[in-house]
Symmetry: C2
Subunit: 191 residues, 2 copies
């Protein structure tokens, strides 16, 4: 009597990501997802182990999407051009998909993290730095600095932390990227 909706783990993950963008990642709930599919809550537990599992899958999806975008953006670019492109990938993704971006920050257990697209991100940032003249261990330091600035800026901006003050964040963003580029070109030796 009840026609099947066609639930799969993938569709649930996708719908979960959409839900996250609409209501916020931490408002993503198995119940709400069931409601959207017009299906009883218990039915989802055949496709997803539990709430934490669902969130993990959304996080992995977001990390993959972000890495794909980053790879596209970096293709054929180098130096500051690549730096700006990569930085904008993160910022634009966070603006278009705030829930997914929050999901990408979801704390994964070490094995899951190691198998995630997170490692691609680190590799790409390192690739970007080939346009600058940095040897190890400075390259690792720089990778971490870039990750910090991108994530820190985007998450503060998303949280409204830069509101209520001039100049606008657009200008700051481009000046920060200028500054990072300059810094990478003249990376200071250990003090």
């Amino acid at each position: 009597m009840a026609p099947r909706v066609g639930l799969t783990t993938e569709r649930l993950t996708q719908a979960g990501a959409t839900l996250a963008d609409e209501v916020g990642f931490d408002q993503v709930t198995v119940s709400e997802l069931a409601r959207r599919f017009d299906v009883k809550v218990a039915s989802l537990y055949s496709h997803v182990r539990n709430s934490h599992d669902l969130k993990t899958r959304i996080a992995l999806l977001a990390l993959e999407e972000l890495a794909d975008r980053a790879a596209d953006a970096l293709a054929g670019r180098a130096g500051k051009d690549a730096l700006v492109a990569l930085a904008n990938v993160y910022r634009d993704y966070a603006r278009e998909h705030p829930g997914r971006y929050a999901a990408a920050q979801f704390r994964l257990d070490p094995e899951t993290a190691a198998a995630s697209a997170g490692v691609r991100h680190a590799r790409m940032t390192r690739a970007l730095l080939r346009g600058y003249d940095l040897d190890e261990p400075d390259q690792t330091h720089a990778v971490r600095l870039l990750g910090s600035v991108f994530h820190g800026y985007v998450s503060i901006e998303m949280g409204g932390g830069f509101s209520h003050s001039a100049p606008d964040t657009e200008e700051t963003w481009s000046r920060v990227l200028d500054a990072l580029d300059a810094l990478l070109r003249t990376w200071p030796p250990a003090s």
Copy 2:
């Protein structure tokens, strides 16, 4: 028959902060708090409007504590000395009080945010920059950059994002601060 425990909004907020450090900020629940005071859940609702209100209060507490520490650290310091001191305030606080630090990132509605210690943080970062030679609007750009790096680095490090790779984060941290100091001393003009 039941001796009163002596609940107040302040004690609940304090206990909530402690709970956050123990189990994580998003695991802070009115029920768990009631359990800790050995009191019925409904009793808390005389002191706290709802769950969101409780979390807001914990966030405000954390922001105050952080600002107090920052003010202490900055007293009598200037230049790079001040930069390092302020940066370490954030990092150390996050390590000592991970739940409180997470709480400090809790999204506040604009009015609450405007009345919070968040504004003190911005003022102090600006004060720090007096040791460098920056005019507006570059000073604002620099304030935002510093906030981004501090927050970004600390939150990635706390999330385990820098694990699994040499060199250790201690070295990176000090090199990043070296780099920021150098950058602030030679802030590049608009490109």
